[in-house]
Amino acid sequence: MKSDKFWAWLVFILGSAYFVVPLAATFEFSLRMRRGEYSFDAYASVFSDPYFASSFTYSVVVGLFTIIVGIFVVVPAVYFVRLRMPWLKPIMEFITLLPLVIPALVLVYGYIRLYGSSSFIPFTGSVLGTDILLTCAYVTLALPYMYRAVDNGMRTIDIGTLTEAAQIAGANQLQIIAQIILPNILVAILSGAFLTFAIVIGEFTIASLLNRPAFGPYLVGIGTNRAYEPAALAIISFIITWGAMGMINVLGRFAPRTSARTD
């Protein structure tokens, strides 16, 4: 028993160190901007940079739109495939995995080809068009996570019977999705939303190649030009991402409870 625990702890400590040591080192380095003593000068410098605020705000707004569009695309798709066309499910799974297989670079070159200013649909010809294109690209990138989160959410409720119960009570398809399905998978949707948010906040390739002032390109720019600020920024992005992950856990406690009882 005792030695079992010893090995378990050893593996746990080694695993933790693998993740924690670089982080701790980064954090320690970010505090060393002022010579000879620890300070938060690097953080102050980051927060006082107007580009930090503007690029972060830009990414947050794009992130929110990505989440909204993602929900509108994924929720009805998963609902109808589960309910009416279950034979489509393997195809759905395959398609939603593609963004993990195809590099973002390939995706964005395809976009520039297809939607460039000399094409039939010149999305990149205007700022708004490019923003829309960027949002669509992020919806695609987040698809594997959003799809799985929503699919898991729908697995935990009996959407078939709930749909029938609502139908026989007189509800139409839109009322069923809005009033019954969505509220019951809200927690799953939110966890998908936070994952999406975490991806969008750090994304570099697409935003950079579409030349939009997003947070990812800003991070990289700072990283090549400054010494201490990148470390501070890295810690800040970690905190944001962890915050998003933590929210998923907190929300998990509010998941709908099963009511199947026989008594």
């Binding site: 409720i157 009996d158 019977t161 709930l162 029938e164 119960a165 609502a166 139908q167 026989i168 009570a169 007189g170 509800a171 139409n172 009322q175 019954i180 509220p183 019951n184 709908p256 409870r257 099963t258 009511s259 199947a260 009882r261 026989t262 008594d263």
Partner: protein
């Protein structure tokens, strides 16, 4: 009087598999009808076609003369209770019951009054603010019943509503369902595979077998005058009698055989007891009569001990109680 619920030449095929093979029935307003049969006999498919969840391959369904066959489920004005309760987990009990009323556009104050009335009817007053997961299965199913009848549907459909519940709740809830149904006079179609359940609460029973109706009638008719061998075997217990004495295809219910002569008995059989099952109020004996196993139900008596295994006994029965089984 014209029939209220009418089903005509109803056929349903899934691919090459025909599960409902031309079913006809007509029932009056206010009747409690059970569709009874083993799993796969097509009873649930018929209910789902009445509800509108399945489209009939051919045939027609009418309520009060109106053809429903091509209406969507949400246009039919029916109520339904499901085996798995299917309460909306995100809504309170009150909102669950009010769901159909809200969809129909009833004003909030009227909805509240109707919800209160329904909760009183199902014996759960003051439960508006609870969530389904906070309630027992029996309570949830009563709420599901209230949700189904709150909008005053033309027809109430019950899809094995008791199957997920414990035995005790099952019996008390079925009596409650029947009482409420009688009170409201609502025409009800009840699907079950449990013959005891069907017998105890139905005005009329439709016994289904492999997509066809084998027999339709009151519980009394079905039990005492089964039309087919399948009905006789499915509804209640049955003993096939030895062919040598009685001729082919003769059978009798276990409770119609007695251990002592009665004024109406005219035949005896002798056999050895091979098993004694004590069921409480009833003692079930398994008797071996020249190789034919025969079950006998006798009432338990405080004063006499039941017969023992290995005893040789004489069985008394009346020829008028012997059923002749058809195909």
């Amino acid at each position: 009087m014209a029939a209220f619920l009418e089903v005509q030449n109803l056929v349903k095929s899934f691919g090459t598999n025909t599960v409902v093979k031309g079913v006809n029935f007509a029932f009056d307003k206010g009747e409690f009808i059970s569709l009874l049969g083993p799993s796969g006999c097509g009873k649930t498919t018929i209910l789902r076609m009445i509800a509108g969840f399945e489209r009939p391959t051919s045939g027609a369904i009418r309520i009060d003369g109106e053809d429903l066959t091509h209406l969507k489920p949400n246009q039919r004005k029916l109520g339904m209770v499901f085996q798995a309760y299917a309460l909306f987990p995100n809504l309170t009990v009150g909102d669950n019951i009010a769901f159909g009323l809200k969809i129909a556009g009833m004003p909030a104050d009227q909805r509240r009054a109707r919800v209160e009335e329904m909760l009183r009817l199902i014996g759960l007053p003051g439960f508006e603010k609870r969530y389904p997961y906070e309630m027992s299965g029996g309570q949830q199913q009563r709420v599901a019943l209230a949700r189904a009848i709150a909008p005053k549907p033309r027809l109430l459909l019950l899809d094995e509503p008791l199957s997920a519940l414990d035995a005790k709740i099952r019996v008390s809830l079925r009596e409650e369902i029947r009482a409420i149904q009688r009170d409201l006079g609502i025409t009800t179609v009840f699907v079950t595979h449990d013959q005891e359940e069907a017998m105890s609460i139905s005005d009329r029973i439709v016994v289904m077998n492999a997509g066809n109706i084998d027999q339709m009638g009151s519980p009394h008719e079905i039990y005492n005058r089964p039309a087919t061998r399948f009905v006789a075997g499915f509804v209640g217990q049955l003993n096939t009698l030895p062919e040598a004495t009685f001729g082919p295809n003769r059978a009798i219910r276990p409770e119609l055989i007695s251990l002592a002569p009665r004024p109406d008995t005219d035949t005896t059989l002798t056999g050895t007891i091979s098993d004694v099952g004590f069921l409480g109020s009833v003692v079930r004996l398994r008797v071996d009569v020249a190789g034919t196993p025969i079950n006998i139900d006798t009432f338990n008596s405080h004063s006499t001990t039941p017969p023992q295994r290995g005893d040789t006994i004489t069985l008394h029965l009346a020829t008028k109680d012997v059923l002749t089984l058809g195909a």
